[in-house]
């Protein structure tokens, strides 16, 4: 039985590790108002470079540390130069999407190079424990503390006494003024990304050594933890990020002590939501702080949507409706069913992210709510499947909106973080609420799709069923967009300050968007559950959220036809070309990056 002192030491050590990630995020946010979603990927890269150095090259500890820091910094510089600098003058959503794309590309490259299997990362330090009072401390703990404190000191000296450090601080305070005074903002960005990446990579190395294990799933959680710590400390506030990290480490450590390890991440995300709701500027921000400069400039790329003639839509509809009558393999039909299910999710996301501008990164959680509701209702309460699916949609609309509502007061990148965290919370609740969700075992034996007692068993009938529902939801959404609500959504996206000044309540319309979108996503999840007959907490994951986002960007934000075209393209084409599953995410990431850079309005244009 470990003592409280042990948990405290553990918490502080963890906090130190988070601080290395969070400080980098804070620096980047400070100079470019960007939350770098690729920070966790650099952490992952750092961990694997460390593994190569320790296991492959057998470098001594000091060389390992230098190697990891330098290589990670290089990766950071490359991200800044080729991923973000070309987007400097583009719309606000572009760099956000770019870092998401970069993060997926990096994660996949690491995964393809080293395989997703966990690897052991030995710590290179003697395995002894020193007794301190009632607790113990090992040499690795001391090393982590030393690296944390040394980095903080070096950073302090750099920011306070070097010319480039002054430039960084000046840029963080007022980018335009700094530029006019001759500060080379590109060099500042480079410096900041280099430092952030070096710290992030070191953090990955240390965590790997601490747990003596690394795997490719570390990336997303590192980003989330770092962001939580940064937001808790106040975005862009470097000392705040350190304190936020230590706080997060302690909260997690004590939480695990009381409730057990499977709740570890839940505390981090709950802390994030609580801070975002009650102190959106961080726990150190003065409540009476001047409001942030009203954001001007458009959030999404201005464009004129491509007008598709009515006859073309009818021809396409007829062609897809009649497809099962033609001699096509059931494989093609299954692939398209998958595309229709994704299209429903994309319809939901294009409304939420495109039409009202709330870029949700946890959208797959809405699928999960719909799927579990529908599956459990039909299994435990013998509700007819069709009714259960509708209930799944309604539950997703109600519960999803309720859970996401704390993020309604947030803007831009914060919405993405909050939705990502809420998605993780939902997945963790499903995992831990065993009495209802059956926990890690998942739900099996879910009855197949049926309508009025008629069971859909043939590929064709399943195809028609999902196609019809997708078309119905699409038409409903077109009707919504044509109403005053569609207009209000788009006005809020384009300028929420002006929208409020004309009486548009942000909470009301964001809630309506999530209610409407939540229903479509919930129905999609419900159908999927009955189709798969087995679901668990990992069936609906972040990869699907990212795929949905790529589909939405490809089709054009807010564009209903675009969401459907994008789904067929991104879900269907890889099947047609038999792209191996492990390369698909990589392709989605690259597609996302290319789109953001070269065709931000997507194929069919933003609406």
């Amino acid at each position: 039985m470990s003592s409280w002192l042990d948990y405290t030491i553990n918490g502080l050590i963890l906090g130190n590790v988070y601080a290395l990630v969070a400080v980098g995020l804070a620096l980047i946010f400070g100079v470019s108002r960007l939350i770098n979603f690729a920070q966790g990927s650099i952490y992952l890269v750092g961990a694997y470079i460390g593994w190569v150095a320790v296991v492959g090259l057998r470098t001594p500890l000091f060389i390992t540390i230098v190697l990891v820091a330098v290589t990670s910094a290089l990766v950071g510089l490359i991200i800044e130069r080729f991923g973000l600098r070309p987007l400097q003058n583009s719309v606000r959503i572009a760099p956000l999407l770019a870092t998401i794309g970069i993060s997926f590309v990096l994660d996949q490259i690491v995964m393809l190079t080293f395989s997703p299997n966990p690897r052991a990362l030995p710590s290179q330090l003697p395995d002894i424990r020193f007794q301190i009072g009632t607790g113990t401390i090992g040499p690795l703990d001391i090393l982590i503390a030393c690296i944390g404190i040394t980095s903080a000191l070096l950073l302090f000296v750099f920011l306070r006494y070097s010319k480039l450090g002054w430039a960084v601080r000046a840029t963080a305070q007022d980018r335009d003024a700094a530029m006019q005074m001759g500060v080379d903002v590109n060099r500042v960005n480079q410096a900041v990304f280099g430092i952030a990446a070096a710290l992030g990579g070191l953090s990955g190395l240390l965590v790997g050594m601490y747990y003596n294990q690394i795997d490719t799933a570390m990336s997303l959680h590192a980003t989330l933890k770092g962001v939580v710590a940064e937001v808790v400390g106040g975005a862009g506030n470097v000392p705040g990020a350190v304190v936020g990290s230590l706080l997060l480490g302690l909260v997690e450590s004590y939480g695990v002590a009381v409730f057990g390890t499977s709740y570890r991440n839940l505390f981090a995300f709950l802390l994030l939501i609580v801070v975002l709701v009650f102190r959106p500027n961080g726990i150190f921000a003065n409540a009476k702080q001047a409001p942030p400069e009203p954001l001007t400039g458009t959030f999404i790329a201005p464009s004129r949507p491509v007008r598709i003639p009515r006859w073309a839509l009818l021809v396409a509809f007829a062609a897809f409706a009649l497809l099962p009558l033609l001699p096509v393999s059931s494989y093609v039909l299954q692939t398209l069913v998958n595309a229709w299910l994704f299209a429903m999710l994309a319809l939901s996301l294009t409304l939420v992210a495109g039409t009202i501008g709330q870029v949700s990164l946890g959208h797959a959680a809405l699928l999960a709510i719909g799927a579990y509701t529908s599956a459990l209702l039909s299994l435990d309460f013998s509700v007819p499947v069709s009714v259960a699916i509708i209930c799944g949609g309604l539950m997703s609309a109600a519960l999803g909106t309720l859970l996401i509502s704390p993020s309604f007061r947030l803007r831009g990148h914060y919405v993405s973080i909050a939705t990502l965290a809420i998605g993780e919370i939902i997945s963790l609740v499903i995992l831990n609420w065993e009495t209802v969700t059956r926990g890690p075992i998942g739900v099996s034996g879910i009855p197949p799709l049926s309508l009025f007692g008629y069971e859909f068993v043939s590929a064709a009938s399943i195809y028609w069923f999902s196609f019809a529902i997708m078309v119905l939801l699409g038409l409903l959404q077109v009707r919504l967009l044509g109403s005053h609500i569609g207009r209000s959504f788009r006005a809020i996206r384009d300028d929420d300050v002006a929208a409020r000044a004309y009486g548009l309540s942000l909470n009301r319309y964001k809630a309506l968007a999530f209610i409407f979108g939540g229903f479509a996503a919930g129905v999609s999840g419900g159908i999927a559950a009955h189709l798969y007959s087995y679901i668990n907490h990992e069936t609906f994951n972040t990869q699907q959220s990212i795929l949905a986002l790529t589909i939405v960007i490809l089709g054009g934000l807010g564009n209903v036809a675009g969401a459907i075209v994008g789904s067929v393209a991104l879900v269907g084409l890889p099947e047609v070309f038999r792209v191996a599953a492990e390369y698909r995410i990589l392709i989605y990431g690259i597609v996302l990056l290319l789109l953001v850079r070269f065709r931000p309005q997507g194929l069919l244009g933003t609406i």
């Binding site: 409001p291 009707r479 005053h484 384009d494 004309y502």
Partner: protein, 291 residues
């Protein structure tokens, strides 16, 4: 100093009344104890050098910012610190200094947003049922909703017609494609669609050439003649002198003078604070003769 300032008009007739309105940003007092009364149908201009606190004052009145002290009353009712949504609902419309149109919305849609608070479907204020009813009405679109939308579109065309041929031919174009001057016009059209009781115009002619400025001046004069109560921030002094019933001069957050245009113009403090910062005396004279 306070007694030297002209006494505000009797407050019982005033539509908008500010008392001791104050807003601090850290050590800086952006708006410092401003008293102001605006009678129904009156046009009052606020002038002053850049950074005098004019736009901050607008933000306090329209709810985009909360005052640290003082009181705002609309028609005698305290509205201090109300949300902008609520204030829009009670008939306060404004334009923005930097021009905030909805870039991806067409001119028609931009102006229709101005009429948002008047929509039938938006009216039910019940917390949970209201929004769901609104969603239902938007999807089902019963005859009343369709007729309302049609009638509003007609009204928008009428409002746009006030700008001659500037906006009507571009009615379906997205606002991001408009010229700077046309965006300002869209903002004013959007404000008019609210059917405001009080209109706040923040530099409506910024960035406009002399012809466009004259057009805008004529429009504001027309609105005043129709009885609209207007609070105007403007740097073009000849326009201010022609349009205003009264002029308020702000400097460093304080009201330093108030009165008829000519009185204010000859006030020594104003010349020092306002003209002294920006224009040299000969330049100001040249401007007067030009006007």
């Amino acid at each position: 100093m306070a007694e030297e300032i002209n006494a505000p008009v009797a407050s019982h007739a005033s539509l908008l009344s500010l008392r001791g309105l104050t807003r601090r940003f850290g050590g800086l007092i952006a708006v410092d104890g401003i008293d102001l009364d605006l009678a129904k149908g009156e046009l009052v201009s606020i002038i002053g050098p850049n950074g005098a606190g004019k736009t901050t004052l607008f933000n306090l009145v329209t709810g985009l910012d909360r005052p640290d002290g003082g009181e705002v009353r609309l028609d005698g009712k305290a509205i201090t610190g109300f949300s902008p949504e609520r204030l829009a609902g009670s008939g306060i419309a404004r334009t923005f200094q930097l021009g905030r149109v909805f870039g991806n919305l067409s001119v028609m849609e931009n102006v229709l947003i101005g009429a948002h608070t008047r929509l039938l479907a938006v009216k039910p204020a019940t917390p949970l049922i209201g929004p769901l009813l609104e969603l239902g009405l938007a999807l089902l679109r019963p005859a009343a909703v369709r007729a309302e939308e049609e009638q509003l579109r007609e009204e928008v065309r009428g409002i746009l017609a006030r700008f001659g041929e500037r906006l009507l031919p571009r009615i379906d174009q997205p606002a991001y494609s408009l010229s700077y001057a046309n965006r300002r016009r869209v903002e004013i059209a959007r404000a008019l669609a609210l059917r405001p009781r009080l209109l706040l115009l923040d530099e409506p002619t910024a960035g406009m050439n002399p012809t466009e400025t004259t057009e805008m001046q004529a429009l504001v004069a027309e609105l005043k003649a129709e009885g609209l109560t207007i609070l105007l921030i403007e740097h073009k002094l000849d326009m201010v002198m022609r349009l205003s019933d009264r002029v308020v001069v702000m400097d460093e957050g304080k009201k330093i003078a108030e009165g008829a245009g000519d009185d204010v113009r000859n006030d020594a403090r104003v010349i020092e604070a306002y003209l002294g910062h920006g224009l040299s005396q000969p330049a100001a004279d040249a401007r007067e003769t030009a006007a």
